[in-house]
Symmetry: C2
Subunit: 183 residues, 2 copies
């Protein structure tokens, strides 16, 4: 069990303490000495934000770090603008903020939401931060009264999402993707 995990706890419900939203910040204030490689010794805390004015080059770097293929910045900008919700995760050390996690959801603002692009920087993986990030976006979607939260999980992360309460193929419902010229 990672260091972060002991802080965030493993029970249901977002265990991260939520502050009053200000300037997009929905952040947790955890004053700790992180053991992430990216933050060796000094005091740092992890915060969350709903602000979608993210430095897109920093986001690209984050996605690069997990090996995702590059996407045109112009398109990423448009996608963020038209996402229902964007939740980013930051390591804050003094006045320095580093983007270490990201997730977003599309939605009809009412019934359904679909979560995309969940990522935690490799330096910070395996410490419960992905879980904390997911709990944060779920909490935000629930706050907006979304009843149906969905996603499409790569095979290697199905169990990660299952632990968070996501069920694969409930009642036989199948996730399907359209392929041009598939047949």
């Amino acid at each position: 069990m990672g260091f972060w995990k002991s802080l965030f706890g493993s029970s249901n419900g977002a265990s991260a303490q939520t502050l009053a939203p200000a300037n997009g910040s929905i952040g947790t204030a955890l004053s700790i000495s992180s053991n992430g490689r990216g933050s060796k010794s000094a005091q740092s805390k992890i915060t969350f934000s709903k602000d979608r004015e993210i430095d897109l080059y920093e986001l690209e770097e984050l996605c690069d770090a997990v090996g995702w293929s590059r996407r045109p910045i112009r398109k990423v900008k448009k996608a963020l603008k038209h996402s229902f919700i964007v939740v980013s995760m930051w390591e804050q050390r003094g006045s320095y903020n580093r983007l270490i996690g990201f997730s977003r959801a599309t939605s009809d603002h009412t019934f359904n939401a679909t979560i995309w692009d969940v990522v935690v920087h490799p330096d910070f993986q395996g410490q419960g931060l992905g879980k904390a990030l997911m709990k944060q976006i779920i909490k935000e979607l629930r706050r907006e009264d979304i009843s149906n939260i969905t996603l499409f999980a790569d095979p290697h992360v199905v169990n990660f999402y299952r632990d968070l309460g996501f069920m694969p193929d409930p009642e036989g419902i199948k996730g399907m993707f359209w392929y041009p010229n598939f047949r």
Copy 2:
């Protein structure tokens, strides 16, 4: 093979003739004598529309007809407003228009779209109209340059979508739904 089907054809690509969009109409003009129960003898044609100003009571009736549970009109209105695209299908006989099919998609307007609420009135099912409706919404999404078109299919319609080029669980990707208190 149904009557409509012979008109719409069974090859790839929307076979419905698309008119220049005007007032939300993206309609096909097919002058035929339908064999749908809802249209017994007179000439009628099927049209498609992107106009989201749909009579919500008529939409509710359509969803009722296939046994879907009722949803508050206020919420349906909000969901339509915030859908990326709405494609409805109409039987037009003289000056009378009847809503006989519906589909919509949420999206980030860039990379991903997810299709929801695909329905054809039982009087008009089994004639290729569901296929035509799906081809229409796929065409519209492709026109908007969306690369990833997704949906969640009930078990009994997986083959319906498969025939349209949708693949279940491609490369092991799993559709997942979040359930509060699932564990």
